[in-house]
């Protein structure tokens, strides 16, 4: 919003649309709440989970029908490009990207996938009917259930949902990716001499080839 910086160079353009930015920080808050509460109090934890679920659904829609910069097709590159970018970053010669960098693009995807997994398993463990019917045999097998899956769950014979472990694994993965994301932003900000965090607040970046 404020225009105090002195752009001696390329013009500032709005890269991240308002919804992307709001969504980003709402997601951060929700993930933080979900991780801190670790299940209890339920209302807070599950509320955060639903917010994350809504975010993921919205982001998928936005990634297809949103503004250019939000679209997956504009920033999802081949994994080789991503690796090359990372290598260049380490080598200090990474090319600057106005939108997501190739590595950043894959981070978006990785986070969306792990967030989805966390949400889905969270929903599944809360719903003692543990899984969609077509998946039940699979899980029952994995857990080595003795009784029929659904029945046992309904009767409360099991102490914990088999999804709990998976849910926690996904949550840890999200945390790890989020930390990696922050580290990546820090490194990229440094490498390209720009404040990427501020861009996610005001949405603007310097245009450059």
């Amino acid at each position: 919003m404020t225009d105090t910086d002195a752009p001696s160079k390329p013009a500032l353009v709005t890269v991240w649309d308002p919804l992307i930015r709001i969504g980003h920080w709402v997601l951060l808050a929700a993930v933080a709440i979900a991780l801190i509460t670790r299940g209890e109090p339920e209302l807070l934890h599950q509320g955060a989970g639903y917010v994350i679920a809504a975010y993921v659904v919205w982001r998928v829609v936005w990634g297809i029908a949103g503004p250019q910069r939000a679209r997956f097709e504009t920033f999802v590159r081949s994994p080789i490009d991503a690796l090359r970018y990372l290598a260049d970053l380490v080598g200090g010669k990474a090319k600057r990207h106005v939108g997501h960098s190739p590595a950043g693009g894959w981070m978006v995807i990785a986070l969306l996938v792990t967030l989805s997994g966390t949400v889905a398993t969270g929903l599944a463990m809360e719903n003692r009917v543990p899984v969609p019917a077509f998946m039940a045999p699979l899980v029952a097998q994995a857990v080595g259930e003795r009784a029929e899956f659904g029945e046992a769950a309904e009767a409360g014979e099991r102490e914990e949902s088999p999804w709990e472990e998976v849910h926690e694994a996904f949550a840890n993965l999200v945390l790890a990716l989020a930390l990696l994301h922050v580290a990546g932003v820090a490194v990229a900000s440094f490498a390209h001499r720009e404040n990427l965090t501020r861009s996610m607040i005001d949405g603007r970046k310097h245009m450059e080839e």
Partner: protein, 132 residues
Amino acid sequence: MEKLSPLRLSLAAAAGGLVLLGFAAAAGAFAGRAPEPQQIAAPAQASPPRAQSASPAQTFAGPGYLPTPEALAQLGITNPIKIERDYGRIEIKHHDAQGRIVETYLDAATGAVVKQEIKSVDANSERERDHD
């Protein structure tokens, strides 16, 4: 913003819908959940039993039931810290006679003590998460 083609729009809607559907499926929306016909045959209390709780002690039947202070007193629990339903069991966190923090688990259907765990001797270790 540039114009959205109907194709793109429907693709977006489909993708979003698919994710939503996935979440709903995970939440058990399409799982063949056993209907609860026993609702009519509810014992004593108004609370309907869980799927097959044609179970003995009627005092403990029904989803959401938490033991009364009297029921707790019978177990020697006079000042519970926390009472919680947890996957078919009732978890009661309380102090024992020695002042230790104990978790007593009751079968939610029968009220029988399933297990008891001493959680802590001192207040510090009490903070740790209670699932193992």
